[in-house]
């Protein structure tokens, strides 16, 4: 499974999302490749199953077949875990 962590620039917020998603996915026992990237790159990507982003950016994303998950609190691992589990499991 491929997950894109997306923010406007691909260097800050998305990197933090990726780090916390990696941590949560490991805990959930889900094997996935999580890549941090920017909006334009994400919208040109077709092989990701999930776009993970922060609240407010989801409207800028064109997910296509990918499910878009918006996170309010990036460091609330419970929120991240619940939303990823709901989308994947």
């Amino acid at each position: 499974m491929k997950i894109l962590a997306v923010c406007g620039e691909g260097i800050g917020t998305s990197v933090l999302l990726k780090m916390n998603a990696d941590r949560v996915l490991k805990r959930l026992g889900i094997e996935a490749l999580v890549e941090a990237t920017d909006i334009e790159t994400a919208n040109a990507t077709r092989d990701a199953q999930i776009f993970l982003t922060t609240a407010g950016l989801q409207d800028k994303l064109v997910g296509g077949a990918a499910e878009i998950i918006a996170i309010d609190k990036v460091f609330d691992l419970e929120e991240l875990s619940d939303k990823l589990a709901a989308a994947i499991l």
Partner: protein, 150 residues
């Protein structure tokens, strides 16, 4: 600049404690002035960080009371680094549940790699629920270094 230590991302010049801002733009401007004072970025990078929010909204407010101001790597970034601003009175970014914001970290990156280790260390701090509040109590840079070291 070495990657390993989060303290290397910040310097006495880039840490602005217990400041006053009346808007989110002023809060980001303070974070930008810290980056400029530390020789990390130019004034144009400060504007670029504001433009990010103008364009894409307040998604940089990623935790309660906490914003990670940043823009894309560009020629306006002289070397990677971070600044810290704590506000006496919080400001609203229009960020819903995470508003209002009293701590802004400014991030300047030269590429997608060099700042990652420091960002990871910062992330480990930010999962601690009391981290943001502990920053608000700081009155000098040395105490901030102590928090980062622990």
């Amino acid at each position: 600049m070495p990657n390993g230590n989060l303290a290397n991302a910040f310097s006495a010049e880039s840490v602005l404690l217990q400041r006053t801002a009346t808007s989110w733009r002023e809060a980001i401007s303070l974070a930008g002035s810290g980056l400029v004072a530390a020789g990390v970025a130019t004034d144009a990078y400060t504007q670029a960080m504001i433009d990010v929010v103008e364009t894409n909204g307040p998604y940089i407010v990623i935790a309660p009371g906490f914003a990670l101001a940043h823009a894309r790597p560009s020629v306006e970034v002289l070397r990677w680094g971070m600044s810290l601003v704590t506000l006496v009175e919080p400001v609203r970014f229009g960020a819903g549940a995470n508003d209002p914001v009293s701590v802004v970290v400014g991030l300047a990156a030269v590429d997608k790699q060099q700042h990652i280790e420091a960002l990871q260390l910062l992330a480990e701090k930010l999962v601690e629920p009391e981290f943001v509040n502990s920053l608000l109590k700081l009155s000098n840079f040395e105490r901030f270094e102590d928090i980062l070291a622990n």
